[in-house]
C-alpha cells in the first residue's frame, strides 16, 4: 500500500513544484526587489552600450575629472571619460564572466558531488580530503595563485573561478546525495542493474535539484564578489574594459584629492548587484524550505 502510494505522491509534488515555487517567490518582497535590481543590471549589460549618452571608451582631455553635472551625470574620470556611460556598460563583462563561471562550477561540482555521494568508499574519502585542502584557502588566494601561474586574462579568470568553486559545490551536492542514497528508489534502480551513470543523473539528480539550485544562486553572488575583487587587484577582467572593479582600481589613488565620483558610483553598482543577486538567492532558499 505504502509502496504504491509513495511514487504517486512524488509525481504530483514534482509536477506542481515549479509553478508553486514561482508563485511562492513572487509573493516575497525581497525576491521582487532582488530580481528587479538584477534584471536592471542584466538589461544594462545587454542594451547599455546602445543607450548610453557617451562612448564609454572615448577620452576627452579638456574635461578630465569633472564633478557630476547635467552634461555628465556621474562626472568624468582622469581621462575625461563619462562615468555614467562607463558604469552602465561596466555591467557587461562581470555579468558575462560570473554567470559562466557559476555554470561551469555547478556542472562540474554536481558531477563530483553525485559521484562522491553515490560511490562513497575510498573515492569519496580521497576526494573529501582534496576538497578540504582546497577549502582551507580563501577563494581569492586560490584564484591568485592560479592566475599568477597561468597569466591573468578575462578568459582565465572565468575558468579559474569556475574550477575554484567546484569543491564547495561538490561538498553540498554530496551531502544532498547522501540523504537520497539510502532511499528505496535508489535501491530499486540498483536492483534493476541500472548503469551507475543512469542512477546518478536520471534517478538521483532530479531529487537533489533544489539543493543545487540554491547552491548555484548563492554561488553566483560569490562569483560576482570574487570577479569584482580580482578585477580590483588587477588579476581579473583586464583593461580597457569599463568594469567596475577595474575602474575603482585605477581611480582610488585620486580620492585623497576629493574626486569621490570616480569611485563612488562604481562601488554602488557592485554593491547593488551583489545585494540584488543575494536577495534572489536568499528568497529561493526560503521558498524551497517553506
Amino acid at each position: 500500500m505504502t509502496a504504491t502510494a509513495a511514487p504517486e505522491q512524488d509525481r504530483t509534488t514534482q509536477k506542481s513544484a515549479p509553478r508553486s515555487l514561482a508563485s511562492r517567490l513572487v509573493r516575497r518582497p525581497s525576491f521582487v526587489i532582488g530580481a528587479a535590481i538584477t534584471l536592471f543590471w542584466i538589461g544594462c549589460a545587454i542594451f547599455g552600450a546602445a543607450l548610453v549618452p557617451y562612448d564609454p571608451f572615448e577620452t576627452d582631455v579638456m574635461n578630465t575629472l569633472m564633478p557630476p553635472s547635467a552634461a555628465h551625470w556621474f562626472g568624468t574620470d582622469d581621462l575625461g571619460r563619462d562615468i555614467f556611460s562607463r558604469v552602465i556598460v561596466g555591467a557587461r563583462d562581470i555579468l558575462t564572466v560570473a554567470p559562466l563561471a557559476t555554470l561551469l562550477s555547478t556542472a562540474l561540482g554536481t558531477a563530483l558531488g553525485l559521484a562522491m555521494g553515490y560511490f562513497g568508499g575510498v573515492f569519496d574519502e580521497v576526494m573529501s580530503r582534496l576538497v578540504d585542502a582546497i577549502l582551507a584557502l580563501p577563494t581569492v588566494v586560490v584564484a591568485l595563485l592560479a592566475l599568477t601561474a597561468l597569466g591573468a586574462s578575462t578568459t582565465t579568470v572565468l575558468f579559474v573561478i569556475g574550477f575554484t568553486y567546484v569543491p564547495i559545490i561538490g561538498r553540498t551536492v554530496r551531502a544532498a546525495v547522501l540523504s537520497e542514497r539510502g532511499l528505496d528508489y535508489v535501491s530499486a534502480a540498483e536492483l534493476r542493474r541500472e548503469n551507475p551513470l543512469y542512477t546518478m543523473f536520471v534517478e538521483i539528480l532530479p531529487n537533489v535539484m533544489p539543493a543545487i539550485l540554491v547552491e548555484a544562486t548563492v554561488r553566483l553572488g560569490y562569483a560576482i564578489f570574487t570577479v569584482a575583487t580580482l578585477s580590483f587587484i588587477g588579476f581579473g577582467i583586464q583593461p580597457p574594459s569599463p568594469d567596475w572593479g577595474l575602474s575603482i582600481a585605477s581611480s582610488y589613488g585620486l580620492i585623497g584629492g576629493g574626486y569621490w565620483w570616480t569611485v563612488l558610483f562604481d562601488g554602488l553598482a557592485i554593491a547593488t548587484l551583489v545585494i540584488g543577486v543575494n536577495l534572489v538567492a536568499d528568497s529561493v532558499q526560503g521558498a524551497l524550505n517553506d
Partner: protein, 312 residues
Amino acid sequence: MKRLLLSVATLWLLSVLIFAGARMLPGNVGRAMLGPFADARAVEQLNHELGTDRPLLEQYATWIGGFVTGDLGESYAYRAPVAPFLWTALLNSAKLALVAFLMVVPLGLLGGTIAALYRDRAADRILSALGLAATIVPEFVSGIILILIFGVWLRWFPISATAPEGAGLLTQVYHLILPAIPLVLVLFGYIARMARAGMIEALDADYTRTAVLKGLSYPRVIWRHVLRNALLPTISVIATQTVYLIGGLVVIEILFQYQGIGSLIYTAANKKDFPMLQAGILSIGILFTATTLIADLLYALLDPRIRHGGDE
C-alpha cells in the same frame, strides 16, 4: 588523535596542490618569471639557479623538507630568505585581524541575540537584511566608501593603515580601525546569523521552559540558561570565518597599503616570486587548519556530550 592526523593529511595535500599550482601550471617557471621576450639562456640560467630544472618530485621534496625544518626558501624578487618577510607580514596581519575580531565578535553575538529575542519582528528583519547586505558586499567596495566618508570627508580616521614609525599601541590601533571595519561587515552577518540560530534553538528548548516555569526572572533565564547554550555552536563558526577573514585581508591590505600577509602574497604574485607566493599561501592553509582544529577541541572541551562521544 584521528582528527589531528586528518589535519596533517589535509595539509600535505594542500602543499602538493600549492606546489602543483606554482611549479607545474606555469610550465616553465623561469619563462613565467622573466616574461615571453627574455633571452632563452637567461631563462635557462634562472631555472638552474632556482632548481626548477630538476625533476618535479625532487623539487617538491626539497621545498617541503625545507618548509618543515623552518627553511622557507629564498625569495626571487628580494634575493633573500623568505622567512623574515613572512613573519613580519603575519604579525602585522594578526594585529589587523585581532582588531577586527575584537569588534565583530561582541557585535555579532549581540546582533544575533537581539534578532533571536525579537524573532520575526522588525528588529529581527532589519538585522537580518543588514547582515546579509554587509556580508556580500566586497571588502574593497565598503572600504572605499568608508575611506570616502570617514577618511576624506569627516577626516576622523587616517587613510593609511600603517602607523608612523615607533608609534605607540593606541596610535597603531587607531590606524587599524578603519581597515578593520570592512572585515567586520563581512563577518558580522555570519556570526549574527549563527548566534541567532543558536539562541532560537536554546530559547525553544525544554530546559528554558522549565527555567521560566520555575519562576526565574526573564533576564536571568536568558543569561544563565539560554546564552550559555547558544554561544557554543557560534564558537566553531567564528573559527571557520578565519578563512574569509584572510581572503578579505588580501584586498584590505592593498587598499589601505598595509604590510601584511595579504599584500605579501599580492606583491609576490605581481613579481611572479613563486617561492614567496608558495610560502605565503601554505602558511595561510596551516593557519586555517590549526584554527579549525583548535575550535573543534575547544568545542569538545566546553560541551561534555561531544567529549564523551565518538571521535570525528
